[in-house]
């Protein structure tokens, strides 16, 4: 976490001259150095860094060069949109990905499995933005049943604005979330399938068969439980990746989320937004890793029991 904070700090500090970006060409040198002093840019680096960290924990990232508004304000405005999009997509990707993966892993040969696999491979080859464009063209332009951009009507709940409470909001989230989840879903299908196939070859499955345990129990009790362990890690990484890919989806669907904000920031070299976004992402990743570790502890007895033995 600190590493990422440092990277984004150096980004903030060394990439280009922030003063140059903030003021116009005609500003005099004196004015510049005054501004420099007032921003504390003349302090030693470690003091600047600690100030950056302190501010970051308070959610202060300075002022956007481009939009001339506090970054924290911009972010909190955009945050709900992105989180709703990512959560819905993660749900779609994980649930359907795991189900289809298990199905194809168990029924290795069969028309449906082959079809799912072929489609999943196609899914890996389809860039998210192409899917988005195709969806827009099909559902918005040709069929005209779903909106092609925006969040629809949102309801404000204090700090949070949600699109789930209105019909137009729900309609608006269908296309972006399906688009976003498709790539991840196909990835999860392939992973779960490979995992299931490997487990079904192991000795303990063979031994369970030799004891006369029913195929149903072998598949869903013995194999699936073992197969789901790596899926937890994947789910963690998956959410992180979804946040990143939401940049693309948000651009295609003009979804007013953080990714959209970020891509504009990159185009205009708006460093404060970029570094704030980075810190936010890093925070999310650290949280996810933490949750994944905890889940592992509960699910995998090989980790749990060992740590008990050490502590006891």
């Amino acid at each position: 976490m600190l590493i990422v904070a440092f990277v984004s700090f150096s980004l903030f500090n060394f990439v280009g001259d922030p003063i140059n970006n903030m003021v116009g060409e005609e500003t005099s040198d004196e004015e510049r150095s005054e501004l420099r002093e007032s921003l504390g840019l003349n302090d030693p680096i470690h003091i600047q860094f600690s100030r950056f960290v302190v501010n970051a924990t308070k959610g202060e990232f300075g002022i956007s060069y481009q939009l001339r508004r506090p970054v924290s304000e911009l972010i909190s405005e955009r945050l709900p949109a992105t989180i709703e999009l990512v959560l819905i997509s993660a749900l779609i990707a994980l649930v359907s990905g795991t189900l289809l993966g298990v199905y194809t892993g168990i029924n290795r040969k069969g028309f449906l499995s082959d079809a799912i696999l072929a489609i999943s491979l196609l899914g890996v080859s389809l860039p998210t933005f192409v899917i988005g464009i195709l969806f827009i063209y099909l559902f918005a332009v040709i069929l005209g049943i779903l909106p092609s951009f925006g969040r629809g009507e949102v309801v404000s709940l204090g700090y949070w604005s949600t699109g789930f409470l209105t019909l137009s909001g729900i309609k608006a989230i269908i296309l972006p979330s399906v688009t976003l989840s498709l790539f991840q879903m196909t990835y999860i299908i392939r992973l779960v399938r490979a995992e299931m196939m490997e487990i079904l070859q192991t000795d303990y499955i063979k031994f369970a068969r030799a004891r006369g345990i029913s195929e149903k129990s072998i598949h869903y009790k013995h194999a699936l439980k073992n197969g789901l362990i790596p899926v937890i890690t994947i789910a963690g990484i998956n959410i992180g990746t979804l946040i990143a890919f939401s940049i693309i989806t948000e651009t295609v669907f003009q979804w007013p989320g953080m990714g959209f904000l970020f891509i504009q920031a990159v185009q205009f070299v708006d460093i404060p937004i970029m570094s704030a976004y980075l810190v936010f992402i890093a925070f999310v990743f650290v949280m996810i890793n933490f949750i994944v570790d905890i889940l592992y502890y509960f699910i995998d007895p090989r980790i749990r029991v060992k740590s008990e033995a050490v502590s006891g």
């Binding site: 080859s125 693309i248 990159v266 185009q267 990743f285």
Partner: protein
Amino acid sequence: MDNKNLTLLNRIKDSDIYFSFIKSPTAILSTIILIIIFFCSFFVEFVTPYNPFDPSSLSLMDAFTPPSWTEEGLAKFILGTDGQGRDMLATILYGARISLIVGFSAVIFALVLGVGLGLSAGYFGGRYEMIVMRLTDVQLTVPSILMALLVDGIARGIISRELHDEMAIYVLIFAIGISEWPQFARVSRAATLVEKNKDYVSASTIIGVSNIIIMFKHILPNIMRPVLVIGTIGLALAIIAEATLSFLGVGVPPTTPSLGTLIRLGNDFLFSGEWWITFFPAIFLVILAFSINLLGDWMRDTLNPKLN
């Protein structure tokens, strides 16, 4: 010499890989498609009479011609033209060349960097290995597209705007390459750890062979299989990543459009009915990536006997 080639050919023919190749119609089909695409893109000057980047040959009169099989289509523009009267097919092939160059360079960059670090980390172990692996862990949690965006953003900050357009392609290669190397590092380290513990490495050490020679002569050839699989899949990913970045407007500039740039430019015409301007580059991109993935998938199944 003849004799040697013959035995090599026989060895290939005799190998399980060859057998599995001729038994797999998807592998053959995707290889054929890829060969055609590679050929047409790299020798595009000879394949199509049009040069979309020569303004004198363009005529705005030809702009927005639909594909040849539609009512208003012209036979000379098979896939129609774009807003500046450029032939779509030619533009796509020129664009594919850029995409392929960026994809290949990025993968090779990532491969050299990743395998180099992964191999040495796995072989030497200790603190060095820990640092390298921690680095890959950190980077793996940052999704590749984000990484590439960041690199590009930083590059924009450092390099002036005029220079940036010129440098864009190198920045892009670097950005995609840097986002993909951890995969190679991980795979090659894991494979190196397995190989390192095999007795043939111990035997070489006991004989007195130096570490460098053991690494490159003995271990490297033995870890190439998984690396090649990752490389193939990585190529598809790199091409998609390039297209995505260009689509987002942070990739190659419109003066030398890649497939992604073409899709972005065409996207604006989607609502006004000129669907072909964005559709054909998109389909082309999907076919390209799909063929590479099919090949990669087949390679993974063939080269990884564990799953069979």
